[in-house]
Amino acid sequence: MLVCENLTRKFGGLSALAGASLSVAEGEILGLVGPNGSGKSTLINVISGHFAPNVGRISFRGRDITGREPHWITALGIARTYQIPRPFHTMTTLENVAVGCMFGRSRDGVARARQQARRWLEITGLAAYANAPVQKLNLHQRRFLELARALACGADLLLLDEVLAGLNPTEVEASIEMIRRIHERGVSIVIVEHIMRVVVSLSHRLVVLDQGRVIAEGAPQEVMRDPTVIGAYLGRDYAGGH
């Protein structure tokens, strides 16, 4: 579905991505893990078009999307969420989601988009807050709003950037349940996450990034036992000690 080849992105002298290659299959939940600063967020930003890669190529369902504008990429069916929710703060919850329905992949008018948005709010359990200003939502609800807005774009591939960070255990469980439900609707998912237990249980496959490169990929349980991965997380000495 999505193929990234040899992606490199530099900020000043620093390479946030240094030749990362990976692919996402249709219907897959791919876990993207790695220590802080390993390039996970940059990868999300490059795939969604917010940064163009300096080197490398990205294609989605056979179409080259390298360096295209974000709105063009969204129209093909890739949507993302932000780690720190970024709702439109002068709009209500419903209006926020309606923006996704109006743009994204569709060309719906305002009235129809508002109807569609209501459906997404019901799916994400935010229907009761439809007409509330977004300031009334807590972090957990704002994350769900991010999800609803991304789904409203008509995405076939969702890029989730740390949707669980800062949530309490109950909220984490509710979010995992929600991600599973979204996946059952036929949406492929790339999930960036720090909580290992969650990624391992959710993902079909794991990709581990370190210093802008893919250092391991495969079935979650196996990847987590890989000495290179343990080394990247805990330092070489620990990996060597086993």
Partner: protein, 371 residues
């Protein structure tokens, strides 16, 4: 958008369009037509500015440039090329829109140019245009352009009636377009850009195209309205066209009225022009500046949403107060002119609208909708 809105605009237009005819029957002074022309002019200018700045969040100090280009397009075409005045009006709009597109193409390509940088850049454009106009002989060359008697179609009546009717038409058209944008995908996309441009783009809003479109529309109406205003000014000169008045007043009016709603700038334009007109006719211009200046400070600090949003929440109380204050003056024979009485009623209205929501609810209560 449904068919009711265009009909409502048409209805308002017809009612106001009857005024010159009524004036002949009832014989009230021509002053009222001139006064209303200025309200229309400011409503068009403020609405034009607000389409760009209020909707998309790109703060423009360059309204004067686009308005001025409109004024000088008409002035030059009519004076130097014997152009039909009516035909020059759309050209004034198009010239301003082309200038806007040029500026937009340069500015919107660079993602960093937001906020104060965009404001400064638009201000710079106005300065450059003024310098060009002052130094190019075919346009002005520093001597000014006296338009004198400009021929126009007879059915538009005498000169003030003609200005009144055309001003009304242009204002209605501008305000209707502002209304239509607010209720369309374009408007919703612009609101998203205003709140968070990167997120809007990520949700599929074609941000560059939308900013260009709204800039072109905004400049078109600034130029169109400016073109007509060339006839009102009659003696067109760089100093009177490219000064701080237009860019400053459209900002004042929109901030007072409110930038989130198409009616905000219209209400702001009506109030500020009425107050300025009354104060200057009473030779109290300094007081006018003090009051409008302090009003702006109060609005920015405490009533960011503008008075229209509050008016909506307290609509019956506000209308009753306005009508009450007006009625007391008219029936009690206080003051001699209706406009002065309206201005005083407006001041009373603004004063009550400045009361914060919390205090207002404690004083007057409000029926709470059971949840």
């Amino acid at each position: 958008m449904n068919w009711r809105a265009p009909l409502a605009f048409l209805g308002v237009g017809l009612l106001l369009g009857l005024l010159p005819w009524l004036r002949e029957r009832l014989d009230f002074p021509v002053f009222y037509l001139v006064f209303l022309y200025f309200v229309f002019f400011w409503a068009a200018q403020a609405s034009s500015w607000n389409m760009l700045t209020g909707y998309s969040g790109y703060f423009s100090f360059g309204q004067g440039a686009f308005y001025g280009v409109g004024v000088y397009t008409t002035a030059t075409l009519v004076d130097k090329f014997d152009f039909n005045f009516l035909a020059s009006l759309p050209l004034a709009g198009v010239t301003a829109a082309l200038l806007g597109l040029g500026v937009g193409f340069a500015v919107f390509r660079l993602r960093k140019l937001r906020g104060e940088l965009f404001a400064l850049l638009t201000l710079a454009v106005a300065l450059v245009i003024a310098a060009v106009v002052r130094n190019v002989d075919i346009i002005d060359g520093g001597y000014g352009v006296p338009l004198g008697q400009v021929p126009y179609p007879e059915f538009l009546g005498d000169y003030s009636t003609m200005l009144y009717l055309l001003g009304l038409t242009i204002a209605l058209l501008t305000v209707f377009v502002a209304y239509a944008i607010q209720h369309s995908r374009l408007g919703q996309g612009l609101f998203a850009i205003r709140d968070d441009e990167a997120v809007a783009e990520g949700l599929g809003v074609p941000t560059f195209r939308y900013k260009m479109i709204v800039l072109a529309i905004s400049c078109f109406f600034a130029g169109l309205s400016g073109g007509l205003h060339a006839l009102q000014i009659n003696y067109v000169a760089v100093e009177s066209v490219f000064n701080i008045r237009v860019p400053l007043f459209v900002i004042l009016m929109s901030i007072l009225g409110g930038r989130r709603h198409w009616l905000g700038p219209v209400i702001g334009a009506a109030i500020i022009h009425t107050l300025s007109d009354r104060f200057s006719s009473a030779r109290l211009e300094f007081l006018n500046q003090i009051i409008i200046g302090s009003l702006l400070i109060v609005m920015i600090l405490f009533v960011r949403e503008g008075i229209f949003a509050r008016l909506q929440r307290r609509v019956w109380f506000s209308l009753a107060l306005f009508a009450g204050v007006l009625a007391v003056q008219v029936l009690g024979g206080i003051g001699e002119r209706l406009i002065t009485q309206i201005a005083i009623a407006m001041l009373a209205l603004i004063a009550t609208l400045l009361i914060p929501d919390a205090v207002y609810q404690r004083l007057f209560g409000r029926a709470r909708i059971p949840c």
